[in-house]
Amino acid sequence: MFSLASKLALLIVLLLGAFPSLAADGEKLFLEKCAICHGREGQGGVGIPLALESFLAQTPDEYIHRTIRVGRPGRVMPSFYRLSESEIAAIIKHIRGWQKTPVPEWDATPVQGDAKSGKALFDTHCVSCHGKDARGGKGTGLMFSRPRDLPIAPPSLNNQGFLNSVSDQMLKTIITQGRKHTPMPPASQFGLKADDVNNLVSYIRSFQITTMTGEHMLEEEAIIMHRSPHSFDQTLENVKRAVVDNQFELISFKLGDKHASDKSAHRKKATVNFCNYKMINDALAIDPRIGMFLPCQITIVESFSGVEVMSINPKRLSQLFNNDKLDQACQQMHDTYSQIIREATQ
């Protein structure tokens, strides 16, 4: 009925018709994921100016790929662990489109240097910008704003995300050449020789303590839930009391509409909102996005099989942020929610 050639032609047409839907749109992804910090045209802001020619000339694709994948733990730069390989490739291609500079490729040979000598050099020449123990300049990606006394916030060189992304050879090149149009000078400006640069690289590398894969273990449950032995009304009162007993201010409580039909498995719902502004203030200092955890809320649901009390699991939400300090705060919040729910359902 069909010749082999026509079958093949049809197959190709079908596949080509489908492939455009697979092609990731680098610009769209960049605007959605990156522009908020790096600027719509890569001009920088909180994040580094990715469109800078000297940055792209020193930065291999692998570095950008790893950075997108693992992020900068403890900073606002998240780990985009859900992006597919093709989506990351599309973002990199979009970033590369800002400059015609060739893509560098550094070999993987580790630099041999003396970290102790490197520390002395670092404390003399680098610490004023990159901070003690290479922790970065003030405002380095901690918040969505930063001091504007420098055109770019000096990066935190001891960040595990950075160290898991950068190669020794890339570090060596940046230190040797400096970075044009940023405050980062070439090593020669300080009279540093090749051995000194190697020592600095070894010192910075000495901060690496983890190997990151960019794969997250989403093993926490979405919600914390206990079954209550009490009536719906009694459980609601218990929750309100437990909230106050745990040093929170009761903001409001809302009874759900009794709209459910007789066929519905659930009848009554209520939410109890509460707050502790000191806790919010402390958490905002860790990450300005913590509003996503607000309000603190416990939900009570009555079904024909009993009364259930539940809340979000802050530990699960925390995994979106790639921030160890926030993880600790969320652990505390998890424990507090669990405590309130336990007290209300005893």
Binding site: L14, F80, F144, S145, Y277, P295
Partner: protein, 153 residues
């Protein structure tokens, strides 16, 4: 039979290329508006309504912080939902209640405004009922549209 196998192979290859195979890119959705805070808030609430949702509340976190003696720039949380949809949804899936209504965090930064929300597509990881997948993906598309409107204006 041979011809049938051929066409099955063609269909299978075609199916592999359909968008349904694409990985959902969840996490956080963040946008920066060049508008000052109050204007961005107005645009956001208008965009939410235009997308078919109702704004069910605005939490003035900055005000609460100030009343408790803490300094803060403008910081609000905007809650929104399709009330009927949420009511019937949480009847059958009460475990979703702690995560609803949807919310967008809005805060000022040096004359501009930042908006952050968790991508509703991440609910696909949190709640495994496959019947909810289309709903979460629609919420994802709606939230992206809303955020896009605020970013573009």
């Amino acid at each position: 039979m041979k011809r049938l196998r051929y066409w099955l192979l063609v269909l299978a290859l075609f199916g592999l290329c359909l968008p349904a195979q694409a990985i959902i890119t969840g996490e956080l959705i963040m946008v920066r508006s060049e508008k000052p805070f109050n204007e961005a808030m107005e645009i956001l609430q208008h965009a939410i309504k235009k997308q078919g949702y109702s704004v069910t509340g605005v939490r003035r976190v900055d005000q609460g912080l100030a009343e408790s003696g803490y300094k803060s720039d403008k910081y609000r949380v905007v809650f929104f939902e399709k009330t009927d949809e949420n009511n019937s949804l949480t009847d059958s899936h009460p475990e979703l209640l702690p995560y609803l209504p949807l919310k967008i965090v809005v805060f000022a930064e040096a004359g501009e405004t930042l908006l952050v929300t968790s991508d509703p597509a991440t609910f696909n990881d949190l709640f495994s009922d496959p019947r909810l997948k289309d709903l979460f993906n629609r919420w994802h598309a709606d939230v992206v549209n809303i955020m896009q409107v605020v970013q573009d204006q």
